[in-house]
């Protein structure tokens, strides 16, 4: 019987203690949960729990501070990079990160994002791009794909009227203050492992004072997209990643794309 192998010496995977036992409020299958865990696993593996300060956004992940078992500070919508700047400058020995959605980072907070990156603040920015405003009911975001239906684009995003989906990661990568920029996903276990590697490098480099490290994670919002969680992951692989192509954009201060 297999049940008798469930003993401590055979343990290969369990939830990190850097996630609290609080039940996350996210919809079933939401990518935020997987991204929270990937990030906390890396902080755990690097032994940085006491040295880490995260800045939570406004958006579905507004309660991230309830789930991540580290010091956190909530910021006003889009202002996480400004708050992170202050915290990192006051406590340069800490690992400081922001965790922000696309509405937060690429719409209302565009100015904070760009100027933080341009100043090269020594922080890690984790940018969760689910191509929609999840929290407020699935409105169109700057990152919504062309033709994609949302609550505020019921006939599909019309690029003639509202412009093209914004690739803000490619944009900030051009700034001298940005040390690294890459795009990841969490729709397969292999992708989660890749993301963890990028997060680890971002943590190391931002702590070494290299500049801003920017990690985008394309994530599903199955509620906003009006699909089942499994369909949403498939749709992401087929559509979102065609436009938001995963991989490195800037590595160690040099553009690679």
């Amino acid at each position: 019987m297999s049940s008798n192998i469930c003993t401590p010496e055979n343990l290969v995977y369990k939830k990190t203690s850097l996630l609290t036992d609080k039940v996350m409020h996210y919809c079933p299958g939401c990518g935020h949960g997987t991204i929270h865990r990937a990030l906390m696993e890396v902080v755990d593996e690097m032994g940085l729990q006491d040295k880490t300060i995260g800045i939570a956004p406004v958006g579905c992940s507004v309660l991230a501070y309830d789930y991540m078992n580290i010091d956190m500070q909530e910021a006003a919508h889009g202002r996480a990079p400004a708050v992170a700047t202050a915290i990192k400058r006051l406590m340069p020995e800490k690992f400081v990160f922001t965790y922000q959605g696309d509405g937060d980072l690429a719409a209302i907070g565009t100015a904070e994002t760009i100027h933080c990156c341009n100043r090269g603040e020594n922080i890690l920015m984790v940018f969760v791009n689910n191509a929609i405003y999840g929290m407020t009911g699935g409105q169109m975001a700057p990152t919504t794909l062309e033709g994609m239906k949302t609550a505020t684009s019921p006939y599909g995003r019309d690029v003639e009227k509202v412009g093209w989906p914004l690739r803000i990661t490619e944009m900030v990568a051009q700034l001298n203050g940005v040390w690294s920029a890459s795009r990841h996903t969490v729709h397969t276990p292999a992708a989660v492992m890749k993301l963890k590697k990028a997060l680890k490098k971002g943590i190391e480099d931002s702590m070494a004072g290299k500049g801003t490290c920017f990690v985008e994670v394309c994530s599903s919002c199955n509620s906003g997209w009006k699909m089942s969680p499994v369909e949403a992951n498939k749709w992401m692989a087929e559509h979102v990643l065609e436009y938001f192509v995963p991989g490195d954009i800037k590595v160690d201060g040099k553009m690679v794309r």
Binding site: S2, I5, C6, N10, V12, Y13, P28, G33, P189, M193
Partner: protein, 75 residues
């Protein structure tokens, strides 16, 4: 070559029944329960226990972190 035998434990009251673990398990070990948990969700269960190799893919992807994975060498 040594073969591995795996097993998982799902915290069924915290499972939200999203089905993502079922969709990514390389060995089709997992399925959804017929009954529901306290929140009304069908939860993930092993439907073909003997096929699990303890690769931990399900644990790594579960959005709610409710899967614990075990693995032992088969002799």
């Amino acid at each position: 070559m040594a073969k591995f035998k795996g097993s998982i434990v799902v915290d069924k009251e915290r499972c939200k029944g999203c089905g993502i673990c079922v969709s990514i398990c390389p060995n089709k070990t997992l399925g959804m329960s017929k009954e529901v948990n306290g929140k009304g969700y069908n939860f993930a269960v092993m439907v073909a226990e003997e096929t699990c190799v303890g690769c931990a893919s399900c644990g790594r992807i579960c959005p709610d972190g409710v899967i614990t994975v075990y693995r032992a060498k088969e002799d």
